[in-house]
């Protein structure tokens, strides 16, 4: 990773990513049924939906049939599926919205019905306890879920979670605040103390792969693949013709996204170089199969340190 600048500018673009949301109040909870004005916002991909709840509760309060509900009673659904609030909205969009991911060649050639703005429903009653963990008024549950996820990423990168555990209370709170406020400089200041220096490779790379949802899936159960992924593996175990970069030590080969997908999901990814049946999507864009996994995470991880790659079927 001699060329640090492209990674930094990539990270800046990832942090600048936004999705237009159109949020409607559940008709059954509205005095005017489906005639309530929607709430429109351009929302950062890295943000979490519950951060919108205080604003939404205030916006919809004149319409609510049940006026005693509070903002932390709020939850979101897309086409009837309750959305797991502990995932950043960019991941939820990539998973559910059905939008065609952007590629280098086609920037905007959406045909037919556009998935944008992404139309979500907000509820302030009937919490789906079978599907979602309850929120609290002070946002502690959300903060806790975020830090647990950061801890996991830290453990994979370093082989220990001592980094995040020894972070001061201010910095630990500051990390969550910087993600909530989408403040990249303040995020970098704290996360740089957790990340191994560029000269030192990760022990394992925090990537989770989300498999395509079967059509007409009502349960909303996500199939997630996670396996220890070292940044480089012995050359013998992959095709020797695919030699990349000078950073790898002798006999070792840097792992690519295509290589990892081919190893973990050979049926969906019969080739490690070309997407044939399915393609990997991150932040609404198709990931190059040749991208090195450590570089992907260093440049394009979500605020909790994870790259959440969504597998999308082609054709």
């Amino acid at each position: 990773m001699e060329n640090q600048t492209p990674l930094v500018s990539l990270q800046r673009s990832v942090w600048a990513g936004r999705i237009p949301l159109e949020i409607v109040l559940a008709p059954s909870e509205s005095r005017s049924y489906d005639k309530t004005d929607p709430y429109l916002i351009s929302y950062p991909r890295l943000s979490y939906l519950p951060s919108l709840l205080p604003r939404l509760r205030a916006f919809f309060s004149p319409s609510l049939i049940e006026p005693s509900s509070q903002h932390h009673d709020g939850w979101f659904a897309f086409e009837g599926v309750p959305l797991k609030w502990h995932y950043p909205v960019g991941l939820l969009f990539d998973l559910y919205a059905g939008a065609d991911p952007a590629t280098k060649s086609c920037v905007d050639s959406q045909e037919g019905e556009s998935p944008l703005p992404w139309r979500l429903t907000v509820h302030f009653s009937d919490w789906p306890s079978e599907d979602l963990v309850r929120l609290d008024p002070d946002g502690m549950v959300m903060n806790d879920a975020f830090i647990n996820s950061v801890k996991e990423a830290d453990f994979l990168r370093n082989g220990t979670a001592k980094g995040i555990m020894s972070l001061s209370k201010e910095d630990s709170a500051g990390l969550w605040k910087s993600v909530e406020e989408v403040n990249l400089p303040s995020f970098q200041r704290i996360s740089n103390t957790l990340l191994p220096p560029l000269s030192q490779p990760f022990r394992n790379v925090p990537i989770r792969i989300f498999l395509p949802l079967p059509p007409d899936e009502e349960s909303g159960l996500l199939k997630v693949v996670q396996s220890p992924l070292p940044p480089s593996i012995p050359t013998s175990s992959i095709q020797s013709s695919q030699s990349i970069g000078s950073r790898s030590s002798p006999g070792m080969q840097l792992q690519t996204i295509g290589g990892v997908l081919h190893t973990l999901l050979p049926n969906l990814f019969p080739s490690r170089r070309t997407p044939v049946l399915a393609k990997p999507v991150l932040h609404g864009a198709v990931l190059p199969m040749s991208a090195l996994i450590e570089e992907v995470v260093r440049s394009s991880a979500y605020g909790d340190g994870w790259a959440y790659v969504v597998v999308r079927m082609m054709g």
């Binding site: 502990h86 979602l132 963990v133 502690m140 647990n148 453990f155 979670a161 996670q226």
Partner: protein, 208 residues
């Protein structure tokens, strides 16, 4: 000594699979009738217990009862005092490579909240409450999602498990079965899950 652990203090998926099957086999031999193996979406071990919560003595020491039968009908008793059913699931963490204890709560003959407050009031024995509540953002127990069912579930934080196992278990003599028993002894008691004496006794630890 049966198959030593290649990744101690961590558990590989193969070790974990072996350990769960071993424990399930031995548990049905005595002491732990409700322990059962679940092999949907990956393997895990489930143990069900019920806690009587007499309203008059709320918050006092609880009586833990092992379910005699997994038949849901067995839960229907003649007296209708509130009972809390706790389903514990032992799952291997793909991140930490150690077992993680998940659990869910369900009331019988009672409607009440089932949040973290209920966990500390009815599940965590009094002597561990203070210690558990003061670590991390919300304490040593979090409300998250079961990695296999995707449903909301509580779990005991696993990030220090490997260090603790390295301290108390002997790398040379521990095998997958004894690893899981030692781990349960370490993690289980803080959420009222105790290893039956029969299982420990039949485990024949190596003399040291």
């Amino acid at each position: 000594m049966v198959n030593a652990l290649s990744a101690f203090p961590f558990l590989t998926a193969g070790d974990f699979d072996w350990a769960c099957r071993d424990l399930a086999d031995r548990a049905c031999g005595g002491g732990w009738p409700s322990a059962r193996l679940v092999t949907q979406n990956g393997i895990h071990l489930t143990i069900t217990q019920c806690v009587d919560v007499p309203e008059a003595t709320e918050g006092s020491e609880l009586e833990v009862q092992e379910l005699e039968d997994q038949d849901p009908e067995a839960l229907v008793r003649t007296d209708l005092s509130p009972r809390l059913q706790i389903d514990y699931d032992i799952v291997l963490s793909p991140t930490y490579q150690v077992p993680v204890l998940y659990f869910t709560l369900r009331w019988h003959h009672y409607q009440g909240p089932l949040g973290l407050d209920a966990v500390y009031q009815y599940v965590v024995p009094e002597q561990y409450r203070k210690e558990l509540k003061t670590v991390g953002v919300m304490g040593g127990i979090s409300f998250g999602y079961h990695p296999q069912s995707g449903a909301p579930a509580f779990f005991v934080h696993p990030c220090n498990t490997a260090d603790a196992m390295a301290q108390i278990a002997d790398a040379r003599s521990v095998n997958p079965g004894t690893y899981l028993i030692i781990w349960l002894g370490l993690v289980g008691h803080c959420v009222n899950l105790h290893v039956p004496r029969e299982l420990v006794a039949s485990d024949s630890p190596s003399p040291s």
